[in-house]
């Protein structure tokens, strides 16, 4: 009997410990799978200042994030707050998953963000998400490898960019297979998100291609246009002809490991690598502006993470408080320090001048101001991105570029029909 009583007390104690404070609201947040310790550090202040809100933050790895959100948002019980990839705003808004936010932010609050970032939060005139981060891409290079093989270092000043044709030649010289086993010890070039339209479509845009029809509902004649095929052929050669890039490295953290550990001489990568590469202290890195095709346009990927609130949430106030906190100056500044995403807020650049004075940041800030080219606006961005991603993955593995893009155009257009 005594043992039984002890058991009951123990069980009651367990319930008391694990249950949230009485009257607290539990806010479910689906968030990008960034390192948990960093996210917790960023949320510390919010937790302290809001004891009435218990955060249930679910970190979902990038590769599974969009499918997880699809399943969760279509269900009867979606998360209260969730991270939104910028171009997905239209898709979620079109399907009624997002709560309109116009009534909850005044113009003074909105003016803190870059106008282009706020624009990306709107769909059909209404504000549906808040900007969390923006982004840019450049060509990182490992100075030690360049010096070891007597290759001239790349230009690092803003606007002084190499042509892709030159980069390919350098990559050939810096693909080193000393053991001769067909598996280079050093690869010439690695692309951080090597099958994602975010990094791949600008290749085609530099050749004059357009990602999608202006109304965002037709891809035939766009993703299989001559410019796309030419760019995709260059991409195909990197992996299959010149063999300067390793196949099958589809995940950004793995690409970063390759580059950071000296297994690749150059990496086409986003701004967060400025901070992330500090983890690899053995080498000296540089950043050259994003290359372009000779005679073509110079342009860079941009856009980034946003924050949305579910249209179905019953915890509107708590959700708003959290969304405003996480996109606010302090949380964004903390994140820029911890992980290195480019803030979408002016005030953060102003308050962290020392960080952004770094020449690498200066190069990317120049790109964000002068050459940034946002991804296409279409309610079918998920379908567009997914099909095109598969096409580029196939091309990387050796599929014929023209055939792969033709098939992708057909498939994308079937899926975009529902939005016409």
């Amino acid at each position: 009997m005594r043992r039984f009583t002890a058991l009951i007390i123990a069980a009651a104690a367990l319930v008391a410990v694990s249950a949230p404070a009485i009257g607290a609201t539990t806010l479910e947040v689906v968030w990008m799978g960034w390192p948990k310790n960093l996210v917790d550090m960023q949320l510390e202040d919010f937790r302290r200042a809001n004891p009435d809100i218990v955060l249930d933050v679910q970190l979902v790895p990038f590769n599974q994030l969009f499918q997880t959100l699809e399943v969760r948002l279509a269900s009867g019980r979606p998360p209260d707050v969730f991270i939104v990839d910028g171009p997905m705003t239209a898709s979620y808004a079109e399907r009624g998953y997002l709560m309109p936010l116009d009534a909850h932010l005044d113009s003074r609050e909105l003016s803190q963000w870059f106008p282009a970032s706020v624009e990306a939060c709107r769909y059909k005139g209404k504000l549906y998400t808040l900007p969390y981060a923006t982004s840019s891409v450049g060509l990182y290079f490992n100075k030690d490898i360049f010096r070891r093989y007597n290759v001239e270092l790349l230009p690092e000043d803003p606007g002084h960019r190499l042509a892709w044709e030159q980069v390919a030649e350098i990559a050939k010289r810096l693909t080193i297979d000393a053991s001769g086993d067909g598996q280079p010890e050093v690869w010439g070039l690695i692309i951080e998100q090597c099958d994602r339209p975010y990094q791949v479509v600008p290749f085609a845009e530099s050749k004059g291609g357009r990602p999608l029809s202006p109304d965002g509902t037709t891809s035939e004649g766009y993703v299989n246009s001559p410019a796309f095929v030419e760019a995709a052929t260059f991409y195909w050669k990197l992996f299959n002809d010149w063999k300067v890039s390793p196949k099958g490295i589809m995940q950004a953290p793995i690409a970063r490991e390759y580059f950071g550990n000296g297994k690749a001489a150059m990496m086409l990568g986003a701004e967060w690598n400025i901070a992330q590469l500090r983890n690899f202290s053995d080498s000296e890195f540089g950043l050259s502006p994003h290359p372009y095709f000779a005679g073509g346009r110079a342009l860079t990927p941009t856009g980034g993470w946003h924050v949305g609130i579910s249209s179905k949430t019953a915890k509107r106030d708590a959700a708003l408080r959290f969304a405003k906190y996480i996109t606010g100056h302090d949380a964004v500044a903390t994140w820029a320090k911890l992980f290195g995403n480019a803030p979408a807020r002016r005030d953060v650049y102003a308050s962290m001048k020392d960080v952004f004075a770094n020449p690498m940041w200066q190069t990317l800030i120049y790109e964000m101001e002068k050459t940034a080219s946002p991804r296409p606006v279409t309610p079918g961005y998920l379908e567009y991105e997914s099909v095109l991603k598969e096409a580029f993955s196939s091309i990387q593995y050796g599929a014929d570029p023209a055939a792969a893009l033709d098939s992708a155009a057909k498939q994308i257009d079937r899926e975009l029909r529902k939005y016409r």
């Binding site: 969009f66 499918q67 699809e70 399943v71 079109e94 399907r95 009624g96 086993d181 067909g182 598996q183 390793p246 196949k247 099958g248 079918g380 998920l382 379908e383 997914s386 099909v387 598969e390 993955s393 196939s394 593995y397 050796g398 599929a399 098939s407 057909k410 498939q411 079937r414 899926e415 029909r417 529902k418 939005y419």
Partner: protein, 289 residues
């Protein structure tokens, strides 16, 4: 059968039938109904008749290449799995601690969570840093691309399926062997039959029912394989492992085209049904005449 008997039969079957109806038949019926509806947009999904099926049959090369890959996968994986299971059952039947330990060892893979298993295989088959290539290197074999090669990826998935399922189906064969009366073996031994003859003439024919069940169930398993594809290859490279269930999943949750997804699932169900009937008929003809 008296009416009391039939009432009792219904009562005993009811729990299973209710669960079967709720978890299998109802979703299958729903998916059939949904396959007749249009593309999901902002508006309610309209009835479109057989348009989704027409698209699959006439305009959808991705679907057809997925059908081919699935057939190849099932046609190769199923017989190898059944043969391996039967072989293991012959090797590991009987009493004794060592045998029962080995049986457990062979059964273990099927008790491991599918996703955990896939992740571990993914690590082992990594072309650059994986265990498999470091073993091959020791044996003097050049490194292989495995899951990143259009020629090897499907073979790797088949290998994983055999590894996981052979031990499971072995248990069914062992149970089947147990149920063969000892007297049959004694009588044949008196007539001078060798153990090989006993295996071919007695054990295998008397395992007919088990065999047809295992064949049908395993083939069905193979047709609806999803997790290893999702975790290891995502259908690639170049669609070489794009099994039907993965393509259906993508259609529903990535391309937001549930009509196409449901039409594919319904066709898969129909295909498996026809194949099962054919297999059962063939198995009966082969083993019971």
């Amino acid at each position: 059968m008296t009416s009391r008997d039939s009432k009792a039969a219904v009562a005993f079957l009811a729990p299973a039938l209710i669960l079967l109806g709720f978890f299998r038949l109802w979703p299958a019926a729903r998916s059939l109904a949904e396959s007749l509806r249009g593309w999901s947009g902002a508006e309610a999904r309209a009835f479109v008749g057989l348009a989704n099926y027409r698209y699959l049959f006439q305009e959808d090369p991705v679907f057809w290449s997925s059908v081919q890959v699935t057939l190849k996968y099932a046609v190769i994986a199923s017989p190898i799995t059944v043969a391996a299971a039967l072989g293991l059952a012959f090797l590991l039947r009987g009493k004794g601690r060592r045998l029962s330990f080995l049986r457990t060892l062979c059964f273990l893979p099927s008790a491991v969570s599918l996703s955990v298993m896939a992740v571990v295989w993914g690590l082992m088959l990594d072309p650059y840093y994986g265990l498999a290539n470091s073993i091959l290197k020791r044996l003097g074999v050049p490194p292989q691309p495995f899951l990143s090669s259009t020629n090897q990826a499907l073979a790797c998935l088949i290998l994983i399926a055999v590894w996981r399922n052979a031990g499971y189906w072995m248990m069914f064969f062992l149970a089947g062997m147990e149920s063969i009366p000892k007297e049959v073996y004694e009588a044949s031994a008196l007539d001078g039959a060798s153990s090989q003859q006993q295996a071919w003439r007695i054990t295998i024919p008397l395992l007919a029912r088990t065999m047809s069940f295992v064949l049908v169930a395993n083939t069905t398993f193979n047709f609806v394989t999803f997790a290893p594809v999702f975790i290891l290859t995502r259908g690639g490279p170049i669609g070489s492992t794009n099994l039907l269930m993965y393509e259906a999943y993508k259609s529903a949750f990535v391309y937001l085209d549930p009509g196409r997804a449901m039409a594919m699932s319904s066709l898969t169900l129909l295909g498996v049904l026809i194949l099962s009937i054919v297999q059962l008929k063939l198995a009966r003809a082969r083993f019971e005449c």
